[in-house]
Symmetry: C2
Subunit: 202 residues, 2 copies
């Protein structure tokens, strides 16, 4: 087999299903490794969280490469399919090239799902969780919980933020820029949440 | 001038600053059109919201093309810089190519900012807004607000969701797939929030 085997680490009931679908459409060979959520808490198992510093789904491995973030994975797989292409007409017609008349709408819709649609849904989910926590706290747990004035949804987001910042800290202790020795667009993307956004959040 | 003029519609105090920075680094010519937020509400002006169906910042225009979503814009600009390149060594060394040893980390960090870091910050901001709304409601507005049991942060997210769904609906009334006549990775990205995510949200 010429290609290193791509492994999709699929957390059931998560957006990693997108990655499987994409590979199927591209005819790109992969190994599927599925993980079940905890039936009580819906949390990912420890073995899944250990795959990648972010602990989120999806994750793929490709030889020594361990990659997280859906959009990064999707673009990685499209590029990989492109490199395999040429003699296979089925490969990589899922990404429109820059000279295609629909290139701009393609990019918009590629990123709109996780840039706008999914964040709105997550916001609604978190509001729902918060209401459940609040109604529970009102009946029994207020006194026993010393952090009752700090909503648990904030705690979740604070933990996610700490994880993201610590991953960035680790990376920048190893290289001058996020993607290595070279300044890239990734650095341009990272600055806003660290600087200007502070003006919105006390 | 050979290139059509790229216009960056810059909402002050927003992530559109990323797009300006990127163009500066790439040496890509652009026209800057800046918009101020409402001093009372921090909302974008109506002229900004009218630029693009999503009403969010940033937005760029390039001839007839009107493009939203930061990640889409960043990739559009990187591709545009690449097309201008060749005789200009300063151009497009901000995107690592698929054969670069750091390609996977580059993609990860390119998408981690808006995929994980910024959502955590937004979640914290929304929790903060909710606490402010709740404390206000407790003191005076509970009785006069008929929707007091529906938190306003949910209302914001519901409006964003409606906007995203309606944009998708409009697009799919005009073409078979999101990016036009051809099935692309954009369609793979869009399905999860419309299907599996329902299992999390009542």
């Amino acid at each position: 087999m010429a290609d290193p085997v791509l492994t999709i680490h699929h957390l059931r009931l998560s957006q990693s299903e997108r990655v499987i679908w994409l590979c199927e459409e591209l005819g790109l060979p992969y190994t599927l490794k599925a993980y079940d959520r905890d039936p009580e808490t819906s949390a990912a198992p420890a073995s899944y969280k250990a795959l990648h510093p972010t602990g989120t789904a999806p994750v793929i491995t490709d030889g020594d490469i361990v990659l997280g973030e859906t959009n990064a994975i999707v673009e990685y797989i499209l590029a990989k399919a492109n490199q395999r292409g040429g003699d296979d007409n089925n490969v990589n017609d899922l990404a429109l090239p820059p000279n295609h008349p629909n290139y701009a709408p393609y990019l918009f819709w590629l990123h709109h799902a996780n840039g706008s649609l999914q964040p709105a849904l997550n916001g609604l989910l978190f509001s729902h969780m918060q209401r459940q926590i609040d109604s529970g706290a009102a009946s029994s747990t207020t006194v026993t919980n010393p952090n009752a004035d700090i909503p648990s949804v904030s705690t979740i987001n604070q933990a996610r933020l700490n994880l993201a910042l610590s991953a960035m800290e680790t990376q920048l202790s190893q290289s001058s820029y996020l993607a290595g020795a070279q300044f890239t667009a990734a650095d341009c993307m990272a600055l806003f949440p660290l600087t200007t956004f502070r003006l919105f959040l006390p």
